[in-house]
Amino acid sequence: MHEWALAEAIVKLIENSAVENRTNRVDYVEITLGELQQVDEEILLYAFNELLTILKNEKNIEVVKYQLVKERAEFKCNRCSFIWSPDVSAMPANELEMIHFIPETVHSFISCPRCGSHDFEIIRGRDLSVRLTHGTKV
């Protein structure tokens, strides 16, 4: 998207969820950041903080605490069941940029180190996911 647009989508999700739950207080937001997202954390956090301030000022919705949790990538081969964590830092920059936008493109660039198959599942580290805990209803 990326970092700013990601932050916008996350804040929109928080706003929507607060409205749905009829609360103006979100106690806790946990953002799990998969390694394959290749997100610049500093930019994401800066954008997120700026947008949270706007959310508080314009919609009176407050996020009390948030945390960014990093998740290492892990793949499982569908052919030989081998499970491995790729050395993402060793991948060429142009491939990492593609993976940053569309993580599944990793299937074009790497295969199972044991049997060579491209038929593998991304079992961890693909997504950016958001978990929320709401406060008292208004």
Partner: protein
């Protein structure tokens, strides 16, 4: 509570479009990609700002048809990714920009993720979006229709492509049944590589669907692949029915 943040981005990106036309057919080889390219070029030629999305994830081909060198293009990042503009009035996006044309071997759940990612990152600035889909009615088509349904079920009007073959015709009838049960209203049916649409008349009446045109087999098509201007010239006479229908919707 876990939520997919992409759905919020997709909703806001698709809301700006007046009409989305998925090009669908259960049968392979009826010319969905060529029709998608021709329709987009013809729409642009008639002054309608058009987006074209190649949703054939494992085997995208529209960049080849339009002569776009994916290796030399760096997509611009402005609040997401701006689609490539091969010519004035036309925006284009494809997974091929991210795989550099390599085959993307991926299963169903991966396809769903890619469709969501592509729709979440692409910052369209068009009136109409034409979406080329792979044969069948599986992950790509289902996910697109699901996401469009959450935005506005009336924004999506699939254009069904059929050939004259008994095999293609049989699956077109089944697809018309399915689309209606899914509560989507088809834009119409377009016959491709057909000398006449007469074979479809009875079915069109029975299913209350419009035949929007008949594109003949274009003898030199292989020679003009990669030349958007030549493709537009070949397409122009055959797409007025589809374009008039689209105009009646977007200008209503």
């Amino acid at each position: 509570m876990h939520r997919d943040y992409r759905l919020f981005a997709i909703h806001s990106r698709l809301s700006s479009l007046k009409l989305v036309v998925p090009i669908i057919s259960p049968k392979g080889g009826v010319g969905k990609s060529t029709v998608s390219a021709m329709l987009s070029l013809a729409l642009t030629d008639r002054g309608i700002s058009t987006g074209l999305l190649d949703l054939d994830i494992t085997n995208p081909a529209l960049h080849i048809i339009l002569g776009i060198n994916i290796h030399s293009i760096k997509l611009e990042e402005v609040k997401g990714i701006k689609p490539f503009r091969p010519l004035e009035g036309l925006e284009f996006m494809s997974i091929a920009f991210f795989t550099r044309g390599a085959i993307l071997p991926v299963r169903g759940s991966g396809i769903v993720n890619i469709v969501r990612d592509l729709l979440a990152i692409t910052n369209w600035n068009s009136t109409v979006l034409v979406v080329d889909t792979p044969p069948g009615f599986s992950d790509e088509v289902f996910e697109l229709l699901l996401l469009l349904h959450t935005v506005n079920p009336h924004v999506a009007k699939p254009l069904i492509i059929t050939g004259q073959s008994v095999l293609s015709f049989a699956s077109t009838k089944q697809l018309l049944n399915l689309i209606r049960r899914e509560r989507f209203e088809p834009l119409g049916v377009l016959c491709n590589m057909c000398s006449s649409a007469k074979f479809l008349q009875e079915t069109a009446e029975a299913y209350n669907v419009e035949i929007l045109g008949c594109v003949p087999f274009i003898q030199n098509f292989e020679e003009i692949i990669g030349d958007a201007k030549a493709i537009l010239k070949s397409a122009r006479p055959y797409f007025n029915g589809v374009i008039d229908k689209i105009l009646s919707i977007v200008k209503a």
